[in-house]
């Protein structure tokens, strides 16, 4: 009986949404067919870069057999939807710090799904919160003389990320490149950095040096709980100030990958320490296992 109900639910939605989909698509082609035909004809001669255009192809084709690219996307989505769903069941509806119990559950989920040990507290240190609103940061200088014209590895990155500009000051720990260190390591850190309010961490007033040293380039897992996207980043700056209403900041690359925006579209992320004593986990985007 239960299996039949499950099957009915899918069949009903499939039929209803299939009809709805075909109607919307037919309406689009009926109203704008000339322009869409023109585009299809034009793009026959070229490799189409925009994956989203695939959705437009074949006006009379409905979607019972999804195109390969869409199917591959759906598989990726599918892995993430369980993460999103699990987190949604734990996270508070309003923006507030997580309770110990919530942090514990989130830590277990993130560790399991991303295959890293993600914890809210490491070596007795923690931040003031592990769930908060992320704001946009600028690029930071990796070395003396670093500027926006030499900052990027590729012209694509320059086009995509140069508009965010360089911050006038240095990161919380000075230049990203450390003495006798290859530049590519500093480049990776600067690319995937976050700013967290180290000055609000428990124990800061009593022993600020200890806290500051602990957080320097500390590796953290940053997760957008609403789309399941995650990045391994380092703490590269201290901030933002409390009056901004933001709880942490992300580099342009971090924000872009997580699909988080500043201003009125600001949204929450989870940020947990990664216990990686041998420094084996690479920085950058990380997928659900």
């Amino acid at each position: 009986m239960a299996a039949q109900n499950k099957n009915n639910k899918y069949q009903n939605l499939k039929e209803k949404w299939g009809r709805k989909h075909d109607k919307i698509k037919a309406n689009l082609w009926e109203k704008h067919g000339d322009s869409l035909d023109w585009l299809m004809e034009k793009t026959k001669q070229f490799t189409v870069g925009g994956a989203s255009l695939l959705l437009l192809a074949s006006p009379k084709m409905s979607l019972p057999i999804p195109q390969l690219e869409i199917e591959a996307h759906a598989q990726k989505v599918d892995k993430k939807v369980f993460l999103i769903s699990n987190l949604e069941n734990i996270l508070p509806k309003e923006m507030k710090p997580l309770t110990d119990d919530e942090e514990k559950k989130v830590s277990e989920i993130l560790s399991r799904d991303f295959g890293v040990k993600a914890v809210p507290e490491l070596l007795g240190k923690r931040l003031n919160r592990s769930y908060g609103l992320i704001g946009q940061e600028q690029h930071l200088a990796r070395y003396r003389g670093d500027n926006i014209s030499v900052h990027f590895d590729s012209s694509e990155d320059a086009v995509e990320f140069s508009s965010y500009g360089m911050a006038p000051g240095l990161g919380g720990w000075g230049y990203f490149q450390q003495k006798d260190e290859p530049l590519n390591r500093a480049t990776e850190r600067e690319k995937y950095y976050i700013a967290v309010p180290t000055f609000l961490a428990p124990g800061f007033k009593e022993n600020p040096r200890k806290i500051i040293d602990f957080f320097k380039f500390r590796k953290m897992l940053v997760v957008n709980p609403q789309n399941g996207k995650a990045v391994v980043a380092v703490v590269g700056d201290a901030g933002p100030a409390q009056w901004t209403g933001k709880h942490l900041g992300g580099s342009p690359e971090v924000m872009n990958y997580l699909e988080r925006y500043d201003g009125s579209q600001r949204g929450p992320v989870l940020y947990f320490f990664i216990d990686d004593p041998e420094n084996k986990i690479p920085l950058g985007p990380i997928e659900v296992l």
Partner: protein, 114 residues
Amino acid sequence: MKHFYSHLIEIDSLIVEISNLEIEDHEKKHLINLAESSIYHAVLDSILSELKEEDKKIFLEHLASDNHEKIWKHLNQKIENIEEKIKSAAETLKKELRDDVNPAPFSHKVKGKR
């Protein structure tokens, strides 16, 4: 898939609701595909309906090259309050889809008629 309008339209909540249905994984994927594609076509219709023929072609060329920056520059020049129009078209459809996933119990429909 990141569309040029992804920052305006949040569909994760709908995806979560689909994922919570007690149906097979491949069935969930199919429903997600249908929902995404329907929203995509509704958004395109809301945009193209506001543009003149020549401007439609410029928009579609930018869409084909997946150049989000040029798409937005063009749309902001040609259509007033375009973001609101896109949001409105998508939200209306999204609400319909969500209502389909979680239909209101019968008792809600007759509430107040006693």
